[in-house]
């Protein structure tokens, strides 16, 4: 297990480094931040002074070298726009995104697995067909469109829930969270549903397919023949065996939800990291863009590592040391 972990961490570092090069070069080519940042009334001399202060007059390799050197010391640069460390700005926004992603994940798992198993056990029933039909909608409708529709129905027409923003927050374990007050919760519901819909559909389809497969297996037939209650067959024998692919997907999707809740955050004006990324791209705030993407890589790599560990707990046959990363 230790050997495996060391190997995985090594691979992760390689991925992070490759990402750093790609991101830095990519960001370098999307435009000159000074043209966006500096007041249009500024004179050429003032523009030149800003270019020099931000270090943009240096060649690409030199800028990259400085970036890597500082990054190794834990400094991902200072935001051009906010004048504060990029990492600090991103971490400020992290709790909002984490909260949204975790609630969305809970929704998609809590609703997706039961529905999927139900549809898998009774694939030809009306309920089963309806669930599958619904999941196709969840899949195929664009995320921003779903979001706008949710706002239109629940905020504009019915007026039950607010159209956006984060609402009231309270301190919980040292972080600002919104699910503890009604005002905060009411702001959380729509974006969480919006973020959860796609994942929920994914989990429904996965759970259904696996349930159908597992039901054909000898051990399920045997359990039934043995006279176990259907309830026990489903909860113990079926559910446990469909969880391995489901956990993989949940892991991957949690990573992508945290890193790329961009559309939902933009539609609902949710003050998370995704909205920060969009704003930073518009303002060409290079240090924030780079730091954000680096952090994203770390999060996804970390979650994947965690998923591998959870595998071994779910299925004793899997030994981490034998797995090829």
């Amino acid at each position: 297990m230790i050997v495996y972990l060391v190997r995985r961490v090594g691979q992760s570092l390689l991925a992070v480094m490759a990402m750093a090069v790609l991101v830095f070069i990519g960001v370098f080519f999307i435009g000159n931040p000074v043209d966006v940042l500096v007041s249009p009334e500024a004179s050429q001399a003032q523009i030149a002074a800003t270019v020099e202060r931000l270090g943009l007059d240096r060649p690409l390799y030199e800028q990259f070298g400085i970036f890597v050197w500082n990054a190794l010391q834990g400094d991902l640069g200072t935001s051009f726009v906010y004048g504060r460390p990029a990492l600090e700005i991103i971490l400020d926004r992290l709790p909002a995104t984490m909260e949204l992603a975790l609630v969305a994940l809970a929704l998609s798992v809590g609703i997706g697995i039961p529905l999927g198993v139900w549809a898998g056990l009774r694939p030809d029933s009306i309920a089963g067909r309806t669930i599958m039909g619904g999941s196709i909608l969840g899949f195929s409708l664009p995320n921003f469109w779903q979001g706008m529709l949710l706002i239109l129905v629940f905020a504009v027409l019915l007026g039950w829930l607010p159209a956006g923003g984060r609402g009231e927050t309270t301190e919980f374990l040292g972080m600002q969270v919104s699910f503890l007050t009604w005002d905060g919760l009411s702001h959380l519901i729509l974006p969480a549903i919006n973020l959860a819909l796609f994942k929920m559909s994914l989990i429904i389809r996965l759970a259904r397919a696996n349930t159908r497969e597992v039901c054909m297996q000898d051990y399920v037939k045997f359990a039934r023949a043995k006279g176990l209650s259907p309830r026990r067959v489903v909860l113990v024998h079926v559910l446990k065996n469909i969880m391995i692919p489901v956990v993989t997907i949940i892991g991957l999707e949690l990573g992508s939800m945290v890193a790329f809740a961009i559309v939902t955050e933009t539609v609902f004006a949710w003050p998370g990291m995704g909205k920060l990324l969009i704003d930073s791209i518009n303002l060409l705030d290079r240090p924030v863009i780079v730091a954000y993407l680096m952090l994203t890589v770390l999060i996804i790599v970390g979650i994947n590592l965690l998923v591998d560990v959870i595998y071994s707990l779910l299925d004793p046959r899997i030994r981490l040391s034998e797995m090829k990363g």
């Binding site: 003032q46 239109l152 609902f268």
Partner: protein
């Protein structure tokens, strides 16, 4: 005012009598009013901080913290400061606060766009007494009272200045103490101004909340509490208004305006100081031009005139801008300072074709038109319409649209032979567009920084320089008019239209629309009064 009918018909809950909530289209990057010279920051900070002068909705300079002022000679100004003004922490406003505030500008670190463009020309400041101040400039600057509007007055006490603050240019002041930097202003104990509202909290990405300052010298402010929320996407911003989350939004998309009005909301709009223009690269070597044997047809004033005449400006403002724009004949809408009521260029494709033939291009040529696609209202659609109109006179145009950040970088690298862009004159004065857009590009003089058409007319340059050093308003006005006329007669730049700024709000609110496009919460009033 369709007030009662609106409320009844739409069944809207009236805005809470005490609180106001506004959906802004972009977010302030800091609460430090001297950190980033950006309209988004300025419009928020104007609620908390004031300056020596103010500008009314038409950008006319009016007294602010200075009651009156006079130009003693070409480079010396005397300001009488208002008496009895209190800061939010209860301390008195005096000349020391002004000197401290101007002194701090060059000391602000990491500023993305510094306010030193306003303080750079101030050679000395001296307080004759607590409420009399003289300012000496390095060169004649008739726009000093205008510039002063941009310089927020901070509390020297709250920021830890010594009892005696002495001015020195470019950050050489004495008695400044330990100068707090921008992040410190998130703390309401540091962000102390004299404005009508007190900073309550600034949650980045989420909201800025300010509360009423009861000791405000200008009378009791209207709202108990004002919340300003950045909602950057157009659709969600409109939804927030329709859903009642916010009482007012800025810049609803033009295509949504009928829907918003139909729901009983009030729409106010006004001509802005922003002109949308075409600029043409006027130097021998120009990229993106075909069918001319390597020559640049834009060097010929007749070709530029033909381009101008081929554009049907009324059609653009009516069909593409939905009526929320006005065809432009100048670089700033009249009656602003330095305008001459010049008529809009008449649409005459016949004459345009003749001019092209006279210039030696009877079969036209092909050219690239650069435009941003997310910076100005319907910018790309306008560019496409211009392309079609130019096709009518034989000029084949390919539109090259890109996102603003890309566009500005490419434009400044002179990649476009023709480009569409906009200019908002923050000073509300003709010298602003002339100096930036059409004065000869000169790095040492700081002239023509945005002249990516490289238009050059030495005679105009000279007149403009003289105007910019003339204190007498009447003489300066005439000189600016003449300078602009030279450029436009020469077709050095082609004005298309003035943008209109739109606000949508609940029917029980009113807002006097501003030409500078600012949304100033303190100026939003209840319609009942």
């Amino acid at each position: 005012m369709p007030l009662i009918a609106g409320v009844m018909a739409a069944g809207l809950a009236p805005a809470s009598a005490q609180n106001l909530s506004i959906g802004l289209k972009s977010e302030a990057t800091s609460m430090d009013p001297q950190f980033h010279q950006l309209s988004t920051n300025i419009q928020v900070s104007k609620n908390i901080f004031e300056a020596l002068t103010t500008q009314d909705a038409l950008q006319m300079v009016t007294p602010g913290l200075a009651e009156s002022w006079e130009a003693v000679d070409d480079t010396t100004w005397r300001f009488k400061l208002r008496q009895g003004v209190k800061f939010h922490d209860g301390s008195d406003f005096t000349a020391r606060d002004v000197i401290y505030s101007f002194c701090r500008v060059p000391l602000v670190e990491n500023s993305p766009s510094a306010y030193t463009i306003f303080t750079g020309g101030i050679a000395d400041m001296a307080a004759e007494d607590d409420h009399t101040l003289t300012i000496t400039t390095t060169a004649t600057n008739p726009l000093l009272p205008v510039d002063l509007w941009s310089l927020a007055i901070l509390s020297a006490n709250a920021l830890g200045a010594d009892d005696q603050v002495t001015y020195g240019p470019d950050g050489t002041c004495e008695g400044m103490g330990d100068v707090p930097q921008a992040p410190a202003f998130n703390d309401p104990a540091v962000a102390v101004g004299t404005g009508p509202y007190i900073l309550d909290r600034y949650n980045r990405g989420s909201e800025v909340v300010v509360t009423r300052f009861d000791g405000y010298w200008g009378g009791t402010p209207q709202w108990e509490q004002v919340t300003m929320r950045p909602i950057t996407s157009d659709g969600p911003r409109v939804a927030a208004l329709l859903a009642g989350d916010v009482d007012m939004i800025e810049s609803p998309p033009i295509q949504d305006i009928p829907r918003i009005e139909q729901d009983g909301f009030t729409i106010v709009d006004a001509l802005s100081n922003r002109v949308i223009y075409l600029h043409m690269l006027q130097q021998e070597d120009a990229p993106g031009i075909g069918g001319t044997d390597g020559e640049n047809p834009l060097m010929d004033a007749r070709v530029r005139q033909a381009i101008s005449m081929s554009i049907n400006r009324e059609a653009i403002t009516e069909r593409i801008m939905g009526g929320y724009a006005q065809a432009a004949g100048e670089l700033l809408p009249p009656p602003m300072f330095g305008t001459s009521e010049r008529p809009v260029e008449a649409y005459d494709p016949e004459r345009a074709r003749e001019l092209l033939a006279e210039a030696g291009y009877p079969d036209g040529f092909s050219i690239t038109l650069g435009t941003p696609n997310d910076r100005y209202i319907n910018d790309e659609q306008v560019a496409q319409a211009v392309a079609q109109m130019l096709a009518q006179i034989g000029i084949s145009v390919s539109v090259d649209a890109s996102t603003a950040s890309q566009f500005f970088s490419r434009r400044n690298a002179l990649e476009f032979p023709v480009y569409l862009a906009g200019w908002g004159a923050s000073s509300g004065d003709m010298s602003s567009p002339l100096k930036s857009l059409v004065a000869t590009y000169d790095e040492t003089l700081g002239m023509g920084p945005t002249n990516a058409g490289r238009y050059s007319n030495p005679e105009m340059d000279e007149l403009l320089m003289t105007a910019m050093a003339t204190i007498d308003d009447e003489a300066r006005d005439q000189m600016l008019q003449d300078a602009q006329t030279m450029v436009l007669d020469d077709y050095g730049i082609i004005p298309l239209h003035y943008e209109q700024t739109v606000w949508a709000m609940k029917p029980d609110l009113t807002y006097e629309p501003r030409v500078d496009q600012y949304t100033l919460a303190a100026e939003v009033k209840s319609a009942a009064e």
